[in-house]
């Protein structure tokens, strides 16, 4: 079975641009979460979606938004990119909304120049 898949794997954007990252969860999983990992630190929670509804939001500005589609895949959008948005963006999926094993994808490396 396929794991959590993310695209693109690497991308370079210019300050002020917008980026969309995509994620497909493990088959049967209804929850998708997004995390940001800056070099040298642990991942930071951005959003969780369950059954197409936002269930949780971390301490990130409104420039960050996400959605989940009927097939449970998800997109993370970041507007007005800043240099500080350069990071590894990780998508995770789980069966339920809480208390389940969480599995991560390989991530999308975003560089803002």
């Amino acid at each position: 079975d396929a794991g959590v898949t993310q695209s693109p794997t690497h991308l370079i954007k210019t300050r002020g641009q917008q980026v969309t990252l995509r994620c497909s969860p493990i088959s049967g999983h209804k929850s998708v979460s997004w995390y940001q990992q800056v070099l040298g630190q642990g991942p930071q929670f951005i959003f969780q979606y369950y059954e197409k509804e936002e269930r949780g939001r971390g301490n990130f500005p409104d420039r960050f938004s996400a959605r989940q589609f009927p097939n449970y895949s998800s997109e993370l959008n970041v507007n007005a990119l800043l240099l500080g948005d350069s990071a590894l963006y990780l998508c995770a999926s789980s069966l339920g909304s809480s208390g389940n094993t969480i599995y991560f994808g390989e991530g999308s490396w975003l560089t803002v120049v």
Binding site: P43, S94, S98, N100
Partner: protein
Amino acid sequence: GIQVEQSPPDLILQEGANSTLRCNFSDSVNNLQWFHQNPWGQLINLFYIPSGTKQNGRLSATTVATERYSLLYISSSQTTDSGVYFCAVAAGSGGYNKLIFGAGTRLAVHP
């Protein structure tokens, strides 16, 4: 919010050695996972262990929820064990999984 502390921050081992990594957390949790992050950035789930003891090959983990700590044991270490080990917890309040990660233990295993 929940605080997660991992120790040691860095660990250097010779191949074949054993090690213990520790994770302390500040509040009750309903989710605790150990991850290994490889050099390419992928987070690999090692254990889902909010309480109790589990073993998987050379790795084992124990969580004592009442005392708010978890231990990850690596036996007979191999060079492929190198990377960063993260402990992450979630309280589950609000009915969602917000994993709080520790700063990680950076492990280097030399041949």
